[in-house]
Amino acid sequence: MEYSSTLEQEKENQQLGEAVQPWQEETAASPQDLGPESSGPWEAEWTPDPGPLPRSSLAQTLESGGRVAEQAASSSPTSPQRPLPALARQDIGAPRQLNGVTRGTLDAGTPLSDPPGESADARVSAPPSQSRQDTTPPTQQPNSSSNPSNPKELRPGSVQEEDWSSRQNRAQSGPRASEAAPSTLEIAVQNAKVYLLRDSSKTGLNLYDHLSNMLTKILDERPENAVDILENISQDVKMAHFSKKLDTLQNENEMLPTYEIAERQKALFLQGHLEGADQEMEDEIAENSLPNIMESTFYFEQAGVGLGTDETYRIFLALKQLTDTHPVQRCRFWGKILGLEVNYLVAEVDLREGEDEEEVEEEDVAEAEERDTGDSEADKDEEGELPKPFYKPPQAIPKEESRTGANKYVYFVCNEPGRPWVKLPSVTPAQIVTARKIKKFFTGQLDAPIISYPPFPGNESNYLRAQIARISAGTHVSPLGFYQFGEEEGEEEEEVDSGRDSCEENPDFEGIQVLDLVESLSNWVHHVQHILPQGRCTWFNPIPRNEEEEEDEEEKGEEPDYIEQEVGPPLLTPISEDLEIQNIPAWTTRLSSSLIPQYATAVLQSNVWPGAYAFSTGKKFENFYIGWGHKYSVDNYTPPVLPPVYQEYPSGSETTEMDDPSVEEEQAFRAAQEAAELAAEDNEETGEDEDDDDN
């Protein structure tokens, strides 16, 4: 049905087209200027003809440069023989060509032709906005350049336009008169034409030229039943097309990012071969340091968490690269933090002795800075006797030593497996404290600034490190009994501080039944130290130093701080004691498979840090985080309250002044002075002093 209707239309079109020809020639002088585009290929055909066609030359020159020339060359075998017929043919051919165009567009859309006027327009019209931007120079040039110079050239094209549009209305919208404003139709036609004129990226041909070439061929050769062998004609035309391979000035050196990353990742896969020599050495190190990611990935996959197999394997290789190039004692794939532009893969690493020389330097620098600031303050002291600000920033809480507390591990991040690993700086308590108050997306650039209301001390790498510390402290859990307190160490710690801050693997750990792990949260314990509100794992008392240096006044202000020592849950506390968030339990446990429970693993999922998971098969366990790096809260984020406004100095005797001395007082004073004239000149001085005081 549909098909037949289109066929009818086509026939109608043809008939009409032929019928219209004379009229078209009469009205050829219409002022519209859409033409040259459409007449382009036609002119191209007869360009090379030497003499007889003077009016052609101007227009084409600007029009389409090399491409047209090529075409001209290719079609020249037919044209030079009959220059005059070519002229004639141009007029005859134009409508035909247009028929071809319409047919082409009609066929391009689906051949449904029912709601006639609009739908036809819709189908024909408007290649996408981008395509319009892409419009190739040859199609734009004629509009701009050739129009004003030789108006005669415009005729055929403009005729075609009008002709075509009117025919469209007649043929397709049938009885319904077209209300479509001519301007939209024109635009639609133009868009359609631009679409047809778009060069193919492979062959450089475009459909418009191809159709016109085909029609030329058909008209030249006049085969019987042309419609039946249309496909063959099309093929012939394509094969007869001659295209010159022009040398471009530069070699196209396409460096897609795809290739770049592939090149980098190739290095990952090849690294095994390169270091074949010291295989034994490698074995020693690698066995200890490189985690078996694939194994834990398998278990996480059972739980429905993970990155996909090939991605994980690349990360595995990247970790191998990390352990080969750094003095790593123990390594773990911490997880993935999503960013806006790129993501972070995070590796948790325990470096061997002889690590961080850089950090020492950093500290030196920091100290030097402190000294500098101290000096400058001293300078100010000398300069003036105006009161100095009393406000002192609260005692900076020092960061924990590397290998202890929140800095127990070193973290390396990279954006994609294959890219270099970057070591994150160690975290300071101030950063953790601030990070608790803000909620920002990671951008993926480590040096991006963090713009937030409590100013964040550092850039994104510090924020990332702080979030990692918080997430680790909150969500790294192990089955009860896997870790135990090291006895010797533990005792020492106990003396020093209330909580022990390290634990070691229990060699006698015998595993816990998976079902027990699922049923009871108390079978899971934290094995990473809790981070105090202060931002450290171990309590640092900021007061004692103050006491030595400062006087009583200071102490009063900070007394409350001094009294309460912040204590958190000690190490190896069961997670059943974790705080709930508004009736939502902190953890959810599941069995990875409900159908085959005997081989299932226990899956633990944090509700406080969405994206943090842990699994345990009873003996093995692993923690993993993937997500945006934000804590969950039922309520929306609210920016922290502004700090209290400092009260002004209370008005008292020190700030209020007496009235100026009145005349009487001065006179009385003078009288008294005169009375005391007997006394020596000392008195005068004291008198002056008193005056001063009064003022």
């Binding site: 739908s119 990353i261 429905g304 990155l307 997306f441 984020y637």
Partner: protein, 277 residues
């Protein structure tokens, strides 16, 4: 994501950590076929899952021939037995506005919400009454899915086209976005009835192709920056992540027909977005 190419799609969307366990995957592959047969859908999409505290909801959607027609939504707790959800209404959305927090994972769970309602009474007095509003979780599920669909369901430009009769069909000739287009938000559309299109000026409309550009594009989403566009695996995969509804991942391999979206999340809208950018 299409139920037919579920495995490939899952692999592609895995970058966000949103996978399915092998058990669930196998179950889905089986049961979605049956859903398609029993409910006579033209296409079945695996929509995603909403994480509850006790259990997760697995959501599938059935599409009829017209891709933009109202979709039927089904949910399941075990990926095998699917139940049809009622269509979402405005009223539900209004009710849901008061409920916050995580889903429980039990469709019959009732959220209780006490509301202070001012009851007009005789004279000028008004009583303040505590009215306990009870909302079933199933209703909330319907409303949340509907909201997510309306806000962040995505298709690439050109994957659907509008037929002259009006219905919207899958475009067979769609060959994927080109690399340069894939980076732009303007080449992705909302997979729902257009809302903002009518408000466009004539000038903006002039460039549109009526058969392709009949949907709202993502680039005008409010607030600006509610999408994160990433090229992963060295440009061979575009991943769009919604920041407004964290958990929605859209993926598309440029120059292929592979595209789809999946939601794995708690079903809560991220109202903190402006603070976080």
């Amino acid at each position: 994501m299409d139920s037919e190419s579920l495995l490939l799609s899952l692999e592609l969307a895995a970058g966000s950590g949103q996978g399915l366990s092998p058990e669930r995957r196998a179950a889905l592959l089986t049961s979605l076929q049956l859903v398609k047969r029993d409910y006579r859908y033209d296409r079945v999409l695996f929509w995603g899952r909403i994480l509850g505290i006790v259990a997760d909801y697995y959501i599938a959607q059935g599409l009829s021939e017209d891709q933009l027609a109202p979709r039927k939504t089904l949910y399941s707790l075990n990926c095998m037995e699917w139940s049809l959800l009622p269509p979402a209404t405005e009223e539900m959305a209004a009710q849901m506005a008061v409920v916050k927090g995580r889903f429980m994972g039990d469709p019959s769970h009732e959220y209780e919400h006490t509301e202070f309602q001012k009851m007009p009474a005789e004279g000028e007095k008004t009583f303040e009454d505590d009215v306990v509003v009870q909302v079933k979780e199933e209703t909330r599920l319907v409303s949340v899915i509907d909201q997510i669909d309306k806000a962040v369901a995505v298709i690439p430009r050109g994957a659907l086209f509008k037929t002259p009769f009006g219905p919207v069909h899958v475009n067979r000739t769609f060959e994927g976005l080109s690399l340069s287009e894939a980076r732009k938000l303007s080449s992705y559309f909302h997979f729902r009835d257009p809302v903002g299109l009518k408000n466009k000026t004539l000038l903006e409309k002039a460039d549109l192709d009526p058969s392709l550009d009949f949907l709202d594009s993502l680039e005008h989403d409010i607030p600006k920056g509610s999408w994160s566009v990433q090229m992963e695996r060295g440009n061979s995969l575009v991943v769009l992540r919604s920041l407004l509804w964290p958990g929605l991942t859209f993926f598309h391999t440029p120059r292929t027909r592979n595209h789809g979206y999946i939601y794995v999340g708690t079903g809560e809208k991220n109202m903190d977005l402006p603070f976080m950018l």
